[in-house]
Symmetry: C2
Subunit: 440 residues, 2 copies
Amino acid sequence: MAQVFRIGIAGLGTVGASAVRILDRQADRLEASCGQPVRVTAVTARSRGKERGLDLDRFAWLDDPVALATSTEIDCFVELIGGEDGVAKAAVEAALGAGKHVVTANKALLARHGTKLAALAEKNGVTLQFEAAVAGGIPIIKTLREALAGNEVSHLFGILNGTCNYILSRMEDEGLAFEACLAEAQRLGYAEADPTFDIGGFDSAHKLAILTSLAFGTAIDAEAVHVEGISSISSIDIRMARELGYRIKLLGVAERTPTGIEQRVHPTMVPLSSAIAQVMGVTNAVTVAADAVREITLIGPGAGGDATASAVVADIADIARGVGGAPFGRPTTALRKAERAPMQRHHGGYYVRLTVHDRPGAAASIVNRFAQADISLESIVQHRSEDAAARDPAGRSGAPVPVVLITYATTEAAVRAAIDQALGDGYVVEAPQVIRIERE
Amino acid sequence: MAQVFRIGIAGLGTVGASAVRILDRQADRLEASCGQPVRVTAVTARSRGKERGLDLDRFAWLDDPVALATSTEIDCFVELIGGEDGVAKAAVEAALGAGKHVVTANKALLARHGTKLAALAEKNGVTLQFEAAVAGGIPIIKTLREALAGNEVSHLFGILNGTCNYILSRMEDEGLAFEACLAEAQRLGYAEADPTFDIGGFDSAHKLAILTSLAFGTAIDAEAVHVEGISSISSIDIRMARELGYRIKLLGVAERTPTGIEQRVHPTMVPLSSAIAQVMGVTNAVTVAADAVREITLIGPGAGGDATASAVVADIADIARGVGGAPFGRPTTALRKAERAPMQRHHGGYYVRLTVHDRPGAAASIVNRFAQADISLESIVQHRSEDAAARDPAGRSGAPVPVVLITYATTEAAVRAAIDQALGDGYVVEAPQVIRIERE
């Protein structure tokens, strides 16, 4: 029998437990494809006694993740603890320093310290793999790093957070308000008790920072991500999007522009007919545009124990097969510092919803402000409710109504300036809603 | 400078020429990610003088592909000649025998001889890669072989032929007949002068046989693929599909069933809301269902010089990085012989269109025959044209009208038996149309 490839797993939550089960179930196949048996030999978790449906007696148990990471009983350390600092970081650093390969699903850790950890892996001649850190079971890391090795990526965008996509899908399907859908997602276990990290866009931002590095050959720069969450999206935006031929998705977008690399996470209007618009519920999807391949889209489960463990096991199998290479596709010394493109110079279409006193001249004043800012409008929509129109045929009551503008491509700075001018005219009665459009 | 990884390319058509250009353009990046320079050193093609926009003087020129394949000037042989036998096969065998790695885009060669060629690669300790052979720029080979290493695949299906998908898309978009759309595809260069190989489903069948081997760990068995093409699809089928909530796609389907592994290529009704239904034009897509990852879908260009060359270059880069391993994910000795599931035992939903004399009792007799065969019907649709109804309110003229049935899951044998019985009743005036449904 060939030498055994020995795995130590730190963290036995749903992903860790599922990884153990998959490694058991697929033992024969993995041995055949890797040329050696792949076995879990040691584990650690917060509590040994917790019921997981696993027989832990087969494995060495260590209380300390750092001790597991440096144990002579393992060849590969699998970090499923989570958290951008603390014990996860200490254990990964210790493992790499001790010459162990590392597999991690920890996007926060990578977004913050990925380039340094990759350098440490390279220095020690070991591999750092992290397919499970972005988009769960979708092989987007492998695709960017390996399958698109001959491509210059120009642009990528993705639905990277299942919680947000679930909430937006339910808002559209059921016509419910954001808060009701969030509460439902929490009941179903799709959202945390404190949902800020997901709905604020921060989880997507971590994942986007990792994808950006792989796509553009730049050092990870999570600080550069412009982040907006979905809590400002109202039912009226969902309805207006549909009426105008769009659907609202929380996208992570990374794009090479003349002013640098844009990284942004925000609610986005995508054409109803696009592949990404069809992705509903907790599913994730990523589209990559590149010179040779033109455009590819990958769709699949972005979370869940089994789907995430599928990615963890794929990483383990790659390492056991002897796949090495730089974690971010190029040595860290070859990763460039990304020129940050300022958001004010973002160029694209915009959806702008302004709620105004329904008085003569209100819509006209807004449209004028956009014209003065040299912004061309594709659509202007003002619906008065039938009720309001019946009660007040001349529109003299001044009841609030939404005015929605869809712009042709312009700059963020121009749109913000036009809105500021419009606010000064005194018709607008609520905070403006601004949603960027991705037409491609 | 590290040792150069030397590439020999046989075949300088659109894919070969594009591969040369990509390897030039991405030379720095490939050197950084592979740890050594990757260079084309020798080429061959049918004609040296043909204008390709390439400076061939930089490369050694060999007239004979077999001589190139065994040249001491190359480490990796790239076969872009095509054809399941003849010089392509001879050159690939010679290269593997001479200890050269091989990259090929030749699905016909692999469908016929893939397992033997993989065994030859293993015997000689070299790699055989073929990402470009299936679905062009979509990394479906890498996904099945590597990213899903921890999964038991239950089912896969895909749009594997852009020509057929283009024709079906145009038939729906423009309401045109098959022949008109085929002629258009030929004008645009999407279909060959002799289109049989594409529209007959044979190209899809080759690709499906390769995917089946990777998905199920079985030796390639292209003979086992049940193949039907798209030439029988009429405008009325396209319209009826839409009315019933489906779209017709030429799918390749591989499925583990209780009676063995089904491999089939045929026009298929897919739900309008499914991701695969959104894939229009020459684009390809593959969906894989597996135990851990549940379901992932990859969408992208299935053909075109640059997209296919993107896959060729990814294979070259993998080999240059030192990625080895069995071409079909397991050693050929571990590939099982697939139990062929007989098509008569296929289990699923069916669309059946029978054109009948529009006489009282015609539809009833058909419905009775299906009931007698124990087939439950989800829908029965019979539209008389308004014209016919106006001219002949009692329906006595017997003008031909279509009767469309959608069945719940049943067997191929039952459907065929019911149709045979219905044909015996004498109402049916044209060859029956039978289209299988994939509901998932």
